[in-house]
């Protein structure tokens, strides 16, 4: 196993273990709730990075995976009595397959056209779900409280789900890292740099793109399932919130697109910043403005994000933090 020799592999594991163990100290539920949001953001950003950073296709509607995963999971659990573990896996697989099929279609579009189509897909799914009666229409799906009893009571179930979410976060980071080092990842980078040249050199661009798109859907869908299971309910406005989709892009850009560490760091920092802005009374009205200004500044002056800046400042960092 070559992976075991890489310090970065162990870094990811250590980071994940830290997330899992830190709130266990003294059963700190408040800290856990903060970290769960960070973990979700990291999952969204890391997987979105597979498209934006690696393949160079801007997915504005990546939240559709998260929402669909949530809906499928809650539907399976609430209406069909599945256990949550199987339900999230199936939700992830179904979302991923649907995305693959969709990908072969809309990934023929390039640049801005693709970006617009992804917004369209998210809004279409959201409006569809809001009107789809078996999924509760605009009221959404609620979990009966008894579902948690089967998992040893609500308090216990919440901890279990937390560890699962942290595991998905670790898996997302490992996936980003693995794809980056694989031949598949090299193909994606080639598409990002120059798609036509990549095709000429033998990269099967349509297949690669669709696979990357579908791959970037699986873990967010699983995370969506776990997150909404934890919340006990899912409504269209929350599940397909385009804003969160865009915020994920901000996280990826903030940390540095195309790197493994960047999106995770960006997501973590963004969550902290957002929390700070929302809890400071004088600033809470302006959190959107500040996020916008931040995004604009990154784009205009530091398009490589934090990691880009680090790499430039200390080129040797590149060898350790991918």
């Amino acid at each position: 196993m070559k992976a075991l020799k890489s310090p970065f592999f162990w870094l990811i594991l250590a980071f994940t273990a830290f997330f899992a163990l830190f709130p266990l100290q003294g059963n700190n539920v408040t800290l856990r709730e903060t970290l769960v949001l960070s973990a979700i953001y990291i999952i969204l950003a890391a997987n979105l990075n597979l498209m934006i950073g690696y393949t160079g296709y801007v997915n504005f509607g990546s939240i559709v995976f998260f929402g669909l995963g949530g809906y499928l999971t809650l539907w399976l659990v609430a209406d069909h009595g599945w256990n949550v573990y199987l339900a999230v896996l199936l939700a992830g697989a179904v979302t991923s397959l649907l995305t693959l099929a969709l990908g072969f279609g809309i990934l023929r579009l390039r640049g801005a056209y693709f970006a617009l189509a992804t917004i369209g897909v998210n809004e279409a799914v959201k409006d569809f779900v809001s009107n789809y009666e078996p999924w509760g229409g605009s009221e959404g799906i609620f979990l009966p409280f008894s579902t948690y009893k089967a998992m040893g009571g609500a308090a216990h179930a919440l901890w279990t789900v937390y560890f699962l979410i942290v595991m998905v976060m670790g898996a997302s980071l490992l996936l980003s890292w693995y794809v980056k080092r694989s031949k598949f990842g090299l193909g994606l980078f080639a598409i990002r740099e120059d798609e036509d040249a990549a095709i000429v050199l033998g990269v099967k661009a349509p297949t690669y793109k669709a696979l990357a798109y579908s791959l970037s859907a699986f873990l967010p869908a699983v995370a969506g399932g776990l997150y909404f299971f934890k919340n006990g309910s899912v409504v269209p406005e929350e599940a397909f919130n385009l804003h969160l989709s865009i915020e994920s892009i901000v996280m990826v850009m903030l940390g540095g697109q195309g790197t493994v560490t960047g999106p995770a760091v960006g997501a973590f920092l963004y969550e902290r910043l957002r929390g700070l802005l929302l809890t400071t009374p004088s600033l809470s009205n302006f959190h959107l403005v500040i996020a916008g200004v931040l995004l604009l500044l990154i784009i205009l002056f530091a398009p490589g994000g934090l990691m880009g800046w680090l790499y430039k400042r200390w080129p040797r960092v590149r060898g350790v933090l991918e």
Binding site: I106, L109, G120, V121, I249, N285, L288
Partner: protein, 276 residues
């Protein structure tokens, strides 16, 4: 009939979007926020005692200068970068506008109250507000065409849209032309927002709906093609008008987005577009 009139207003919004894309290949994601801003500026001028239709003029002027400022701050530096950058930059602008708007006016609905007359034309009932909005949209479109095809500045805009380097070699200051084009696109968005505000109640978040309608309309007509965008808007309005009696209103959005994605897939240059 109502569909046609509303469609013209959608068309006007779509022209603003498509003009910017046609001239500088930038998809302006701040479009919706700017439409909403148009609604609120109309509300401000109306609140100051101006008649809504008289307020359109100051709204247009504000829109133009806002567009030039946005261009200079957010777009100018990244106009030659990858599309991701301009998408994100304009989206950042949208977040800023919506954020400030939410802080100023919250997200509760507003409306413009003024006297509306109802006419009956051969079995159709039309309100004066809709009629005036449609006529205003058509007039502004004619004005735009006059500007683009009958003035020197308009000719320069078309030259820059065609080939920026060549235009620059001919002595056209392309940065200024781009700023002006962005200003005009923004002005059209503000105007359409103001016209919509005379028809329906609005919130600072309403822009999103009309932004998506503008995208659908301009994609229907082929991105970058103003006539197409106007026709796309009319088609969109007619679809909305004609399906309304048969299905619930909430389903119209699903239909619109499905059309949008299908058109993007199968007619990426629009229904009337040739090759770009």
């Amino acid at each position: 009939m109502d569909g046609l009139l509303i469609g013209l207003v959608y068309g006007l919004a779509a022209i603003g979007l498509t003009l910017i894309f046609g001239v500088m290949d930038v998809v302006n994601l701040a479009h919706g926020a700017i439409i909403a801003l148009g609604m609120f500026f109309l509300y401000l001028f109306f609140g100051a005692g101006l008649h809504p239709y008289l307020s359109l003029l100051p709204v247009a002027i504000v829109g133009f200068f806002l567009g030039v400022i946005v261009y200079q701050i957010a777009v100018r530096r990244i106009i030659n970068g990858p599309p991701l950058m301009s998408l994100l930059a304009t989206f950042a602008v949208s977040m800023i506008i919506v954020g400030i708007g939410t802080a100023l006016w919250s997200t509760s609905p507003y409306n413009i109250n003024f006297k509306v007359v109802t006419y009956t034309l051969g079995g159709y009932t039309v309100t004066s507000a809709r009629l005036v909005s449609a006529v205003a949209a058509v007039l502004v479109t004619f004005g735009l065409y006059f500007f683009l095809y009958r003035t020197v500045l308009g000719k320069a805009v078309r030259a820059v849209a065609n080939n920026r380097e060549a235009a620059e070699l001919m002595g056209i200051p392309s940065q200024q032309i781009l700023a002006i084009s962005f200003g005009i696109g923004t002005m059209l968005a503000m105007l359409s927002g103001a016209l919509i505000a005379t028809l329906f109640p609005f919130t600072i978040l309403s822009g999103g709906v009309y932004e998506l309608k503008s995208f659908v309309a301009s994609v229907l007509g082929g991105l970058g093609n103003p006539t197409g965008a106007l026709l796309g808007g009319i088609i969109l309005g007619l679809i909305e008008g004609s399906v309304a009696p048969f299905i619930q209103v909430s389903w119209t959005n699903v239909i619109e987005f499905v059309i949008f994605v299908l058109i993007l897939l199968f007619f990426p240059t629009g229904l009337f577009g040739g090759r770009r």
